[in-house]
């Protein structure tokens, strides 16, 4: 049994993101607060983006830990699609690894509120899966 990695960065904790559950993969939750509000009563797109990215990294970290592979993750890019306005309710997010290669992980992430079947935003992320320690001879 591998040790579960800490998937919450200082940024994620400051924003209020918590682990919601591990059912069918790790899911995160972002409670609504003024610190994540955009237009009055609506979740800010940037906060949704931050939640989606955190969930994407979490999915890869959990999978690597299960396979007992030590790697460092680096962002390559993210594309966020905003589907509907985020209401002042808790927002959940879960990432699905589309492909985990030796160098790159491709992850699809969904965020939803009351209804899992009605996502409010989705993201596609490319994440570099780099060696945990630089190889000898490199700087």
């Amino acid at each position: 049994m591998s040790v579960q990695p800490d998937v919450l960065t200082p940024y994620a904790r400051a924003l209020g993101i918590e682990v919601a559950g591990m059912d069918g993969g790790i899911a995160l939750v972002l409670p609504f607060a003024s610190s994540v509000e955009g237009r009055p009563g609506v979740l800010h797109g940037g906060a949704i983006g931050g939640l989606l990215e955190t969930a994407g990294y979490a999915a890869v970290q959990i999978t690597l830990a299960e396979q007992e592979i030590e790697r460092r993750l680096k962002p390559i890019n993210v594309t966020v699609q905003f589907l509907s306005a985020g209401r002042p309710h808790p927002t959940y997010a879960q990432g699905r690894i589309v492909r985990l290669g030796r160098r790159v992980a491709n992850v699809a992430v969904e965020a939803w509120q009351a209804d899992r079947a009605k996502p409010i935003a989705t993201a596609v992320m490319n994440i570099m899966v780099a060696p945990a320690r630089p190889p000898l001879g490199s700087d």
Binding site: P10, V36, E37, G46, E53, V78, F82
Partner: protein, 150 residues
């Protein structure tokens, strides 16, 4: 790019204290930096609690997404010369390198096309040297102050 002929105005410098005070962008502490005809530049000051990697003191990418999104919105209102409610349809951020520890990050967004209902934005983020960006981004936004056309 077509600019509205009417006399309405939107001055990013004047609007910033109001638009950047509250909510998520207020929490992040975003600040106005500068603007031109079709662009606006905002700053995300360094903060110890926005890290994605504590060991290396690397800023998380989430605040950069928020910065790019807000700079895009202000570039659009600036280009339209008025404030209208808009929603982000999509936003892509290509991370070129990690931002240097303890450096503020700037994002300059340019609204290169305005249609009746949509606005298209592109921009770069940097941590002091605009010729060495930390990220490039592009996004599509939609006006939500008018009923949808049948």
């Amino acid at each position: 790019m077509n600019r509205p002929a009417h006399g309405s105005t939107f001055d990013p410098a004047q609007a910033a204290p109001l638009l950047l005070r509250l909510g998520h962008v207020g929490w992040l502490g975003l600040e106005y930096h500068s603007h031109g005809d079709d662009w606006t530049e905002l700053v995300l000051p360094w903060r110890d609690d926005l890290l994605g990697d504590s060991e290396r003191e690397l800023l998380a990418t989430g605040p950069i997404v928020s910065l790019c999104d807000m700079a895009s919105g202000m570039a659009i209102w600036n280009a339209m010369a008025r404030f209208v409610p808009i929603a982000t349809l999509d936003l892509r951020v290509d991370y070129q390198r990690a931002a240097r520890p303890r450096h503020a990050v700037h994002a300059r967004a340019r609204c290169y096309t305005l249609t009746r209902s949509s606005a298209f934005v592109t921009g770069t983020a940097h941590d002091g040297d605009s010729s060495d960006p930390v990220a490039r981004f592009s996004g599509c936004f939609m006006r939500i102050d008018r009923p949808a056309v049948a």
